[in-house]
Symmetry: C2
Subunit: 276 residues, 2 copies
């Protein structure tokens, strides 16, 4: 039996993840479990885990780490009750930095030396912007946000290096300050924009030709606003060429049990410390 997106739209995380685990749902997760933090997933062999974690620590806007598994453990206790091998609707498998396969179950590939990293994603601040009445063109038009390799280089760590990839959203001039203030509340989800205005200043020659995603217009009275983007670690992984790397398939995210709109330390720190 297969379940539709509409059926799952208002289900709780356990129900959605069970539907995914049992192959009843394999679609994208945008808009599912509203109010729950969704995360990018990167799985690497332990030999590369320290360098990748350093890469994330050094580039927190692009790679906001929200959870790290124990070596060999397909779960991240702090983020919820899930199995990382089966509970995402689709995975991409890279060998030597090259995409070789997509799958809805990576149990057969799992290794005792894998370390899993969960990284915050833009769904978090986009949801907050929409709640504040700020329209987002790519969502209203059901396209993928335009993403660009910027001229800004990420701080390297071991073999991980590359450009900071940015996503662009056109924002009305009158809402620029609101947008900055709202997204700054979510440092675990890319935080405030890294640039606004002239794309050339960060090495983007042509807004109509994104490196990933679809072009989006910048209407009169609007300004292009750029955020550090979760594709940055993917570009760094392509540079590092690990023997194996498994990620979520874009749009098919890890759904956590963590509230989406909490402040960073309340998302990340001990529940027992939050009751005070």
């Amino acid at each position: 039996m297969s379940l539709s997106y509409a059926t799952l739209k208002s289900a709780d995380p356990d129900t959605v993840r069970r539907s995914i685990r049992t192959s009843q749902y394999r679609g994208h997760t945008a808009g599912l479990c509203p109010g729950q933090l969704q995360a990018n997933l990167v799985i690497l062999p332990q030999v590369l885990a320290l360098d990748f974690m350093r890469f994330c620590q050094r580039n927190p806007r692009a790679c906001p780490l929200v959870g790290v598994s124990d070596t060999g453990a397909p779960h991240i206790d702090a983020l919820g009750d899930f199995d990382l091998r089966t509970d995402l609707p689709a995975y991409n498998v890279y060998r030597d930095g090259v995409l070789v396969d997509s799958s809805s179950d990576i149990s057969a590939l799992w290794s005792d030396d894998f370390v899993a990293f969960a990284l915050g994603c833009s769904f978090t601040f986009e949801s907050a912007l929409q709640k504040a009445g700020i329209p987002l063109w790519h969502i209203e038009n059901d396209t993928t946000v335009p993403m660009f390799r910027s001229a800004i280089q990420a701080r390297p760590a071991g073999p991980f290096a590359g450009p900071v990839v940015v996503s662009m959203r056109a924002i009305a001039q009158a809402r620029l300050e609101d947008v900055r203030a709202i997204s700054a509340r979510f440092p675990h989800a890319h935080g405030a924009p890294v640039h606004q205005g002239d794309p050339a200043q960060i090495g983007i020659a042509d807004l109509s030709r994104p490196d990933w995603g679809h072009p989006a217009p910048v209407p009169p009275g609007h300004m292009p606003v750029f955020w550090a983007c979760g594709v940055t670690p993917q570009a760094a992984i392509a540079t590092a060429r690990p023997s194996i790397c498994i990620t979520h398939k874009p749009g098919h995210m890890l759904i956590t049990d963590i509230p989406d709109q909490a402040d960073a330390l309340d998302v990340l720190d001990l529940p027992s410390l939050q009751s005070s």
Copy 2:
């Protein structure tokens, strides 16, 4: 020649670190280089680095990671131009989790497999509280803030485990909200309090008997307020019993080139991303 604290009080970080490096100054760093971020230092063999970094990631209030060195590198480029072997006024050396020595120069102990971690410290939010006109008894009375093992357990990672250690500051009832809001601005320096009010609720039996530091009074109209404390990783290291671990000596911190009062991502992320 030896330099006095008063002489160095308003010197820039380069001057202070040079005075330390050349053994002209070996005192504590509290109040030196006002406006610059100071940090706790933990140096561990690489074999423990991934687990320690996971411990920090899982306990961000107690262990706010602001920088990590490359393996074998005695510097952290993102934080400033310093040599971690010589530029702190005093170090503690632990073997098998036990303090065995203190030193003002660890060059002879340095190993190519060392990884250095810089963790934010309470100086950052204390400075902000004082600027907001909130008096801090331990500073005015030149004592060490009282610290307690709480009943809250840190999230473990590999061999690193133990209680969350908290520091206590007595705050006037009328300023409690200000104190929370101000310290929440600095998630890279312990963030907002983890508890306020009845110490017994977090397992503290007697405020007059701190586990570290000196007792401080809670005057009428004041409330005891507790923050996660940088002694937490020290307690976890005592549990893990690494073959060797080097830390700063309490109060003798790493002075960075980073502005103390910046927001978290502006402290930690690329300077080139901050100009926008």
